[in-house]
Symmetry: C2
Subunit: 330 residues, 2 copies
């Protein structure tokens, strides 16, 4: 973080310094931060960012934008079995940014940094002639050599997902066109639920320990279940067969599906779920389910790892075909 | 890094995967990377980024843009006494980006990643409707508790800088207006030198060990010597008095100064030097000079740490006044 005494830098120091609660952040008054994993632990590193107009709408509440970009990174850490340790923040701000925007952004960021035990360690701020952009690099810790990989799925493993799939993909459609909820026949409450699932994902941090104990492979579902399962299968050198009727969907998504069956494509490929997709030996399912329940995270078995290549999503004995298997911001 | 089998992702995998030489990068085929400092060491974290039109010109050679943004981060690590360990890369690419741009960018990045022993650990790519933007988060290691802080300068310490100051500030002016070199009366060779100093800074990685041994405080000079010394003094709760005639300048800068004495302001406040500013007890000067010489890094003593507040740049017994003490991209 800059500290040259300019008005803008004082502004940033005022709002962001309170988030730098780790001694290794040096109150954002140095060029670098210190982070030291506990003895016997590896540091897990991930980075993910958002750009106005691409990943969020410019008028979205700044506190929610902040919380979402941090949670996107926390979701990656959770899927790897890592406990959050801290993050670096880079923000590119348009010249006309208002103090109240920065204040609300920092307030939301601080709320989640505290809730997830992931303090701000340092950062970089610049002005941009382009859209507002935020990049987070987040760090977590795992016991040495124990990070849960994508590349560990074995033939015969069960395939499991957390939570419900597709809510955020429906939520973002609704967020951009608020007549859709009515067309889908979802209630006001269900409509709010879908939008919230898009704006504020729930990283499955509480499940990290259970993943370390039981998962053979895991990743977070951020680019759509279909595409992300294909990635996990490719990294593991296996295939997977999913029973579409077992993919967990919310009541709201079920209502929308009843109105428009074609939405199954959106649900399975739409992305932004920030749930965890994992594989594990079937004999571990019961123990994993118990650990997940203890962590308060709903989980559902959706299929099996098979020999071969690719991920097939089966319904009525046939594999679904998808126009675009993976959501991409490209 | 994404890996969903799309054409663009395959492109990125082709060019960036060869840079991911650390086993902890998992060939960029996982959601996160692993980095574990050696026993007894802390991890030092820093982040710095660049935006087209703000920090570089859109037509600058992509390989140089890549090398500069990595070197900006390596300079921070060097100033903290840290040995490079790896980095995360986030790129926001305009939709019309060409494959040869990515190829040249990755080629330059890989060249310096190898030269400085700082492998790519992971990253994030997105398309942006705005200008091309690159963010690096870089990691280094220091013996536990030994990171060289900004906040360690003591009254009576000597103030030292590496290399020469102001070359990049003159270089960027020239880079934007190529008639300036002629007006300044610098030779073609000197003109090239100044531009190169702007486009490709030299992080003082070789000096990290000597800083750990001898420096009481250090930071890299990225926003101008005047402003950066003020920051170091503020963080340390001291003042500093600099003899302007002792600030090391290159032959090229000296020639430009002879043509236009007002350029002293640009030289001292212009930024982008990526030299190291440090303080140390005067009795350590000889040993530090010897260590710096062994590392091949020129160093010059430019003043003293004093009691009080602020940094004064003295010439002919008077303190210079600066219109804008610190270069800011804001």
């Amino acid at each position: 973080m800059p500290d040259d005494g300019s008005a803008e830098d004082r502004l940033i120091a005022r709002y962001f310094r309170p988030l730098a609660t780790s001694p290794g952040a040096f109150g954002l008054a140095d060029d670098a931060a210190i982070l030291t994993p506990p003895p016997g632990c590896d540091l897990v590193l991930t980075t993910d960012g958002v750009i106005a107009g691409v990943h969020f709408l410019p008028h979205d509440p700044p506190g929610l934008i902040a919380r979402k970009v941090l949670r996107m990174n926390l979701s990656d850490l959770a899927a790897k079995g890592a406990r959050p340790a801290g993050f670096l923040l880079s923000v590119a701000l348009p010249a006309n940014i208002e103090e109240r925007w920065i204040a609300a952004f920092a307030q939301g960021l601080g709320q989640d940094a505290q809730a997830y035990g992931c303090p701000l360690l340092g950062g970089d701020t610049d002005h941009t002639p382009g859209p507002l952009a935020i990049t987070v690099a987040a760090f977590g810790t795992v016991p040495h050599g124990k990070m849960v990989r994508r590349a560990g799925a074995r033939v015969g493993n069960a395939v499991v997902v957390t939570g419900t799939i597709g809510d955020a993909a429906l939520g973002v459609l609704q967020h951009k066109d608020n007549s859709l909820g009515k067309r889908w026949g979802v209630s006001g409450e269900q409509s709010d639920y879908l939008t919230t699932r898009y704006l504020l994902p729930e990283p499955r941090t509480a499940l990290a320990e259970a993943l370390l104990q039981h998962a053979s492979a895991a990743m977070d579902v951020s680019d759509g279940l279909v595409g992300d399962l294909a990635k996990l299968a490719r990294a593991s050198g296996v295939a997977a067969e999913i029973d579409v009727t077992r993919v967990p969907v919310s009541d709201a998504a079920r209502a929308a599906l009843a109105a428009d069956a074609a939405l199954i494509d959106t649900i399975l490929t739409g992305g932004d779920d920030y749930e965890i997709l994992l594989t594990l030996p079937p004999q571990r399912l019961d123990a994993f389910r118990a650990a997940a329940q203890q962590a308060g995270v709903p989980v559902g078995e959706i299929g099996r790892v098979t020999a071969g290549q690719g991920a097939r999503f089966m319904r009525d004995g046939k594999a679904l075909a998808f126009a675009r298997p993976s959501y991409s911001h490209f």
